[in-house]
Symmetry: C2
Subunit: 723 residues, 2 copies
């Protein structure tokens, strides 16, 4: 198992002048000095001519948030339970679950002592380094309690979240019983039943067949005392569709209740620290008042009241998507930091007799592989911060509107909610996909060392991959966002104007879609961010207009195109935010400004104009003659501008070593010593025989096949038996 | 942890007519019948109107190979040690290594009893289901012995491979000591030294510093008794560059020899079953005759003879690349089978009040995601078979040429070797990348169930990922292939003609590169495979000609473009083979012909014309007006043609359940029962409390924060202490 060379490069005979060649026979020094990655990285770090904190504040969106994040990094690094250690990459599934349980316990102490918003930020950061722990807490605080908050009455929420202390990780622990073995994305198709029994004033929760087994339920296997159960409400033989119910799973002794069958769904690609389970209900009775009845009610007599304003009950689903978009930024920051530190410290192949090999990052292809991801990470930072801010505003307005019964505020908030569904869906799907690719590309860029667990790529990719699938499968979410965009464009063409919506830029669709003149006609145009933004708006408009007629026949037929629209919408959002914040939040003479301008351009040229070029050209938004400039010449030029500052630009993410959690990605850049010394600790060289060594040695020293066959196939036996 | 719905689709109230609605209160039946994936799959299987064996013979390239492969599948399925079982997805690293060791032992018995070519086929198949076992054997039989064969004398090879029985996995076990901590791709830069000591007639092997530590060496940690060591030959203070030496690591008692330090490099992203290690040599002496001296010799007096024909010594590196290209086909077959069976059996969302939900495979986007990979797998099957055949011919010719000293044959073989370096490099890199993407896309297409270990995606992806990095990093290999193509085109423009080369199609470069007329001008042209082949040749020629001037200044600057050329070369090779075999090996009236024609076209439209469209248009090979037909209309049409036969087309891969090794991908299609019942066996529902349950329960039932603080922060204490 070794990395074979490019055969051509293999042929050189590196003859060395005997004069200059020290006496190797003494076996103390090589023909070359040892590698000095730490020095290379330190030298490049010295080029950083800006204040890291200022850059970090730009990335995080505010001074306060930046300071909080940095303090939390420090708190986590110091905490004996929450901190990372290289040997954690050696954990078995059982051991990982043990560690996760200890960390949940530790987190339960912080939730009692710090502000909830700070705790949520702590949880968000912990989720990057321990996604299993993150999701186990979020299943309770996010999914379970958000579901109760969104669908239950205030009294129901107060009872379970506060009186029963689920909101403090105490007394009870909730899980989220939505998906079934046979139903993932189509929740409305769930087949678990909740049948009202008027006589006993209870609902009977039941799993009618194997397909309706609740499946993938995080926390169900071992932790959860309760679940919110998505089940079809059946009253007097009428099926009212899927509603939500709180169903206890375990008693106060943590034993399963009768009628509840639960199992561990077992080994997974990642998130091994989560006890995902399956649940089957067999005639489980719950009191009528365990149905979440904010919007939908069943009276004592079995009269059903249906939701007046159903959309509001799904706002709670947005939070997870907003969080995953933000996770994408932090994962991008972490892995571009690792890959770029390695690319600066690692040398490979010497040019024309140079004394030292070339740094990886000085290869054009290496720059083209990594720097567009660095630029994307910067764009994702500001874009996902905006998404978080807008989501918080929306929730605050909703609470205020409901509390004061302010109809206008509610109406405006519902408009914002509609675009928030599009934005959170398109950012979640686009950015979690991008982050998957980013991790994989950064891994490959570190060669064989990227394949070592201790450098964090493998476990992170495995834990990460589910982000493209859960809480809205990416393709389903993106198709939904694309559909809404097309519908909005159609309504705007018919005279409607969007208000209180982040999609207001679509109000220009009638003009943009009819424009004959390309938006980008000469290469200088590529250098104008506002023009590029307009080009995206024009492409979305023309593309949507083009799809409207087909959509009338079949939405299905334009599935792929709807996904493309969703990606374009995500990039519009990021670029718009990046431009706006660069204009308004950065001083004119700040040394971070030229850096950000380069990254901004590199971002849109390599992540938007390049990948969607065929569409831009097809719809006449970009003139074909600019194509080569966009795909080849300008990216190369921008990469060269960014190249000298990669250490400072990744240092600006301010992620400490403990958070980076990668032996080749540490701040000091002493790649080889950090790596070998940790590997020696986790795998003692004293264990030079494997547990199975005896069996292996027996195989190597086995007797001949004739002897094992008792010599009964020999010539002698043949002679004997043939007589 | 659950899959949240597309919020829009969530709003439906699936009211059911009470008349038709059975009494759910009885809790025995649902409002819908349970899912019937097995029936859906069986129904579609009935559409198969061709002989699976005939199709399999086409895929494998010959009747004999097809029969051998099918018999081996059966042998592996029956073998108690080699067969797969679902619980293998639960193994820890230690357990996996134990299983791998048992399997190597079992394989060592087959190597003694079946032909070597059949054994190699068995090993190739086993490598798909147990890549760790595969590589552990291949490190010895492939890398170690190939290195001795390629670089050692016949007597050296006979001694270690036959007399010392390394070729039978007996007595000794070799590893491949090439890469170092500081050197992967640049093997010529290795810094381990082998210094000739004339007095004792030995070489002194030494690791001068940490960067020269041998790293990633498969088998070194616990198994290997010997290594071939790539080290700089130093004789009389002159550095002759990197040569190869056989160095014993362990004595006959399997204890490490003095001067040898070895360690396990520990946890990895995948291939956990391989004991990859690091090695440091400190003044280790080996006899002079342990240097591999077929091409390079050191006499008793220290006179050095350098290789007369160095290129020949690297032919042995090709084998691994040929193997990995073939692996890509079998992995593609396995995972498209899983994903397409699931896509037929799984239903999601009902259309306009239909009784049943729609099968996943009937969504346009789902077809566009999976069917191009199915088509690619067919193309990869025939292409990689051809590569294997040509590689075997080349080795046979080389042996014959050397044995008979046939100079002409040797010269021709060396020409073929040059193009074989390009072909194996471009197929290995392109197809291992494609297979990575294929596994990831198939995984996502199975939603949450794709994330379960028992469905094979996660472990396979992890084990697979190293294929893009080792035995020639994909980017390095592809850049090398691209460079050779450009150089060849330049030489051809200068009047040279290629002979005995698979790149002979480049001889048309002068004409093709000058042609003004596009090759594909109207949509009907897209339907002509030979024309598409010509279009690729034209693109390669024009692209290469365009790059020649830049290459004179900097090969580095065109790194990305060289990778693109390599990918195009791979596709040319696959398409050329597919067309040729379809013409010559399939009867005109065979029912497999229309199927193959559809797949052929789907392959080149979605894997070649679509992805490289920007280049095709830029160089005027395809007219822009055909673009939308290529990217959208025609693929959709072809997908609809292939769609009805996906079960038969994947059944034709003939991979049995045990080889597929995925609960949702079994032949009978009884997805949910297969899945749940196996999960119940591997994770008994009786274990409904986790080992850490007590700690968890203590957390939930913890006393208040005041009590934990000994009530010393109370109002009473405040009053007391404030006095």
């Amino acid at each position: 198992m070794a990395l074979l060379p490019n055969s051509k490069l293999f042929h050189k005979n590196n003859k060395v002048d005997p004069e200059k060649n020290p006496k190797i026979v003494e076996n103390v020094i090589s023909s070359r000095p040892p590698p000095t990655p730490a020095k290379d990285i330190a030298d490049e770090r010295a080029r950083t001519n800006w204040d890291l904190k200022e850059m970090h504040e730009f990335l995080e969106g505010s001074e306060a948030k930046s300071t909080e994040v940095i303090r939390l990094y420090q708190s986590i690094e110091r905490d004996p339970i929450l901190q990372t250690r290289p040997e954690q990459f050696d954990l078995t599934q059982k051991e990982e679950r043990q560690v996760v349980a200890e960390r949940i316990d530790q987190m339960s102490k912080y939730i009692e002592t710090e502000s909830y918003s700070k705790f949520r930020r702590r949880l968000q950061l912990m989720t990057v380094i321990d996604p299993s722990m993150g999701i186990r807490i979020l299943v309770n605080l996010g999914l379970f309690l958000n579901c109760i908050k969104g669908n239950g009455t205030q009294k129901q929420y107060d009872f379970w979240a506060k009186k029963k202390e689920a909101g403090s990780l105490k007394q009870m622990y909730g899980c989220f019983g939505m998906t079934e073995l046979g139903h993932g994305s189509n929740v409305a198709g769930c087949e678990t039943t909740a049948t009202f029994d008027e006589e006993s004033d209870t609902f009977i929760i039941d799993t009618p067949h194997i397909g309706a087994t609740k499946w993938w339920i995080g926390g169900a296997a071992h932790s959860a005392t309760h679940t919110v159960c998505y089940a079809r409400l059946i009253v007097k033989d009428v099926d009212y569709g899927v509603k939500t119910f709180v169903v206890p799973l375990r008693d106060s002794q943590h034993n399963l209740l009768p009628g509840i069958a639960v199992g561990d769904i077992g080994a997974k690609m990642g998130r091994q620290g989560v006890d995902n389970g399956w649940i089957q209900f067999t005639e489980v009775r719950i009191p009528r008042f365990f149905m979440l009845q904010r919007w939908c009610k069943v009276s004592r007599q079995g009269n059903v009241t249906l939701p007046p304003l159903e959309q509001l009950s799904y706002i709670s689903l947005i939070e997870g998507r907003v969080g995953m978009a933000a996770d994408s930024y932090r994962i991008g920051a972490r892995f571009t930091t690792i890959a770029l530190r390695y690319a600066v410290g690692r040398r490979q192949f010497a040019k024309n007799g140079a004394q030292q090999e070339l740094q990886l990052i000085d290869y054009t292809l290496h720059q083209r592989r990594l720097l567009p991801y660095l630029a994307l990470t910067y764009a994702a930072a500001v874009g996902t911060d905006r998404l978080e801010v807008e989501h918080n505003e929306l929730l605050a307005n909703l609470d205020k509107g409901l509390a004061t019964n302010d109809k206008l505020l509610l109406k405006n908030t519902i408009n914002s909610t509609k675009s928030m569904f599009v934005d959170s869906g398109s950012l979640k799907s686009t950015l979690t996909w991008e982050a998957s690719d980013l991790i994989a590309e950064c891994r490959q860029s570190c060669g064989g060392h990227g394949y070592s667990s201790y450098n964090a790529f493998g476990k992170t990719w495995n834990d990460w991959s589910v982000q493209t699938t859960w809480e809205g499968d990416n393709n389903v979410l993106a198709m939904s966002a694309g559909k809404t965009i097309i519908k909005n464009v159609q309504q705007i063409l018919n005279g409607k104007k969007l208000k209180n919506s982040s999609l207001e830029f679509l109000n220009d669709a009638p003009t943009l879609s009819k424009a004959k003149k390309a938006v980008i006609r000469i290469k200088e145009h590529v250098d104008e961010p506002q023009r590029v933004l307009k080009a995206i708006a024009a492409l979305i408009s023309k593309f949507a207009v083009d799809l409207i007629p087909i959509s009338h026949q079949s939405w299905d037929a334009i599935g792929a195109q709807r996904v493309t629209l969703s990606k374009l919408r995500c990039h519009y959002y990021l670029l718009e935010t990046f431009i706006e914040r660069l204009e308004n939040q950065v001083k004119a003479n700040s040394p971070i400004r030229p850096q950000l301008e380069n990254l901004l351009k590199l971002y849109y040229v390599t992540n938007i104009l390049g990948p969607f070029l065929a569409e831009f050209i097809r719809f006449g938004v970009i003139q074909p003659k600019v194509a080569q400039y966009i795909t080849s010449i300008y990216p190369q030029e921008l990469c060269l501008r960014v190249r000298p500052y990669v250490i400072g630009l990744t240092d600006s993410f301010e992620q400490p070593d403990n958070f980076i959690h990668s032996l080749i990605g540490k701040y000091d850049g002493d790649i080889y010593n950090n790596y070998l010394s940790a590997v020696k600790i986790t795998n003692s060289p004293r264990n030079h025989k494997a547990p199975y060594s005896e069996a292996l040695e027996q195989m190597l020293n086995r007797v001949s096949i004739d002897e094992r066959a008792r010599f009964e196939r020999s010539k002698e036996v043949e002679a004997l038996l043939s007589k």
